[in-house]
Point group: C2
Chain length 252, copies 2
Amino acid sequence: MDFSGLQEEMVVQLAQQIKAPRRPPLTRDRLLGAAVALADRAGIEAVSMRKLADELGVVPMALYKHVANKEQLLAGMLDVVVGEIDPPAHGAEWKSAVRQRILSARRALLRHPWASGVMESRKNPTPVVLAYMDSMIGLFRAGGFTVNLTHHVMHTIGSRLLGFTQELFNDSQSVDPQVQAIMIRELGGKFPYVVEIATAASHEDESVVGQGCDDQFEFEFALDLLLDGFERLREQTWTSTNSQSGSDVTRR
Amino acid sequence: MDFSGLQEEMVVQLAQQIKAPRRPPLTRDRLLGAAVALADRAGIEAVSMRKLADELGVVPMALYKHVANKEQLLAGMLDVVVGEIDPPAHGAEWKSAVRQRILSARRALLRHPWASGVMESRKNPTPVVLAYMDSMIGLFRAGGFTVNLTHHVMHTIGSRLLGFTQELFNDSQSVDPQVQAIMIRELGGKFPYVVEIATAASHEDESVVGQGCDDQFEFEFALDLLLDGFERLREQTWTSTNSQSGSDVTRR
DNA sequence: ACCTGAACACCGTTCAAGT
DNA sequence: ACCTGAACACCGTTCAAGT
């Protein structure tokens, strides 16, 4: 029982070799799966090449066998998330087909809250994202939208196509009501309108006071306002060449 | 003429002391101004505490006299940008007042392309941003919107309030037409709809082929679609308590 | 009391040395 | 040929030592 540090190390090494004589070889899929799980659990800022390698019991440089660099790692992680979006319902009319699929994308994004930030930080879509967009464009075209209108529609719906909320600030969702009351009193003098709206949102649902607003409702409200607007333009056979200024998109 | 390295250093130091016996003391404003200018010139990723200190001829730790940490630095930079937005035109009806101010915000953001990304990465609005939002809410309220509808409207317009475009991918704006032609041919097989829309956008404006789409037009198209939608709901005196599901925001 | 250099604990990635 | 440890060039920030 007089092991030196070196001897202990050798024993541990030997034990590992016996217990796990050959650990499953690292594949791209296992790497991406571990990265997604790590980001889900500990946040995207915890996903570094070094920590991820640790997680997998591998030396950092080993990851570079499967991804060229960190950017490719993040791209691969996004593709995993986009892969979770349901395929389009077939047979449905364009509006509900688009609506259902976007809500499915939103559910996938809520499962992986880091994904929207990573997506925003990219400049080029991955082929998987491009395929998703192609499919969504197809739903509009099949629904009778002209190429021209579909183009503007895609720009307008923007990142909401993938279920982003892109709000300006994260509602102080789960804040201690007492703390919130103090904040409201303090801010009230300077920002009366903000407080008016914030308090109205809290009182609206009578079940729980101060739980903030219903994000799902807000998302669907905005989505439906957009879809209704698109439908109206489609019925008018709107085209950008009819409209000299962008000032009234619904002019006839 | 046999200066050693050390002696040269001393000479330079002395010369600087004579030329600039007292450089203007570092203030928060000078710090923020330099940071904004550096970000404008070299991109936000070039803005590190160390490089910024170098820029100002100051030791890195000197910055911490004026900002608590890097997050506060970025917040201050955003406030500079938001400070450039024009005040609301008074006397105008709500729609054009909102419209003009948002387009002014967009111009400010285009002058500082890094600002939208920094804004998105924040979870809490600065007091300056809060004041801007308060003022915008005020325009809707003065225009006859109920508190309830204004709340949903603010969520819907989201970051577009500050002039963001939040598109999914940056259009390959200024790409060599030949390169683009090759890309289109290669992608055409897999993503026919994407190509159809991309090529249509290029041909639309007959002046220059392949210059991509008009971002300003797309922004105004989307903005006006939203404002028209808001106006319609206001005229219907829409309220979320009338609408059981979010499925048709324009139901009567 | 103020200022500041060195140091700490991280990054992503390169590179050369060892097998 | 493959694997991998050390090293490089950065970060933001802490801290203690010097003035």
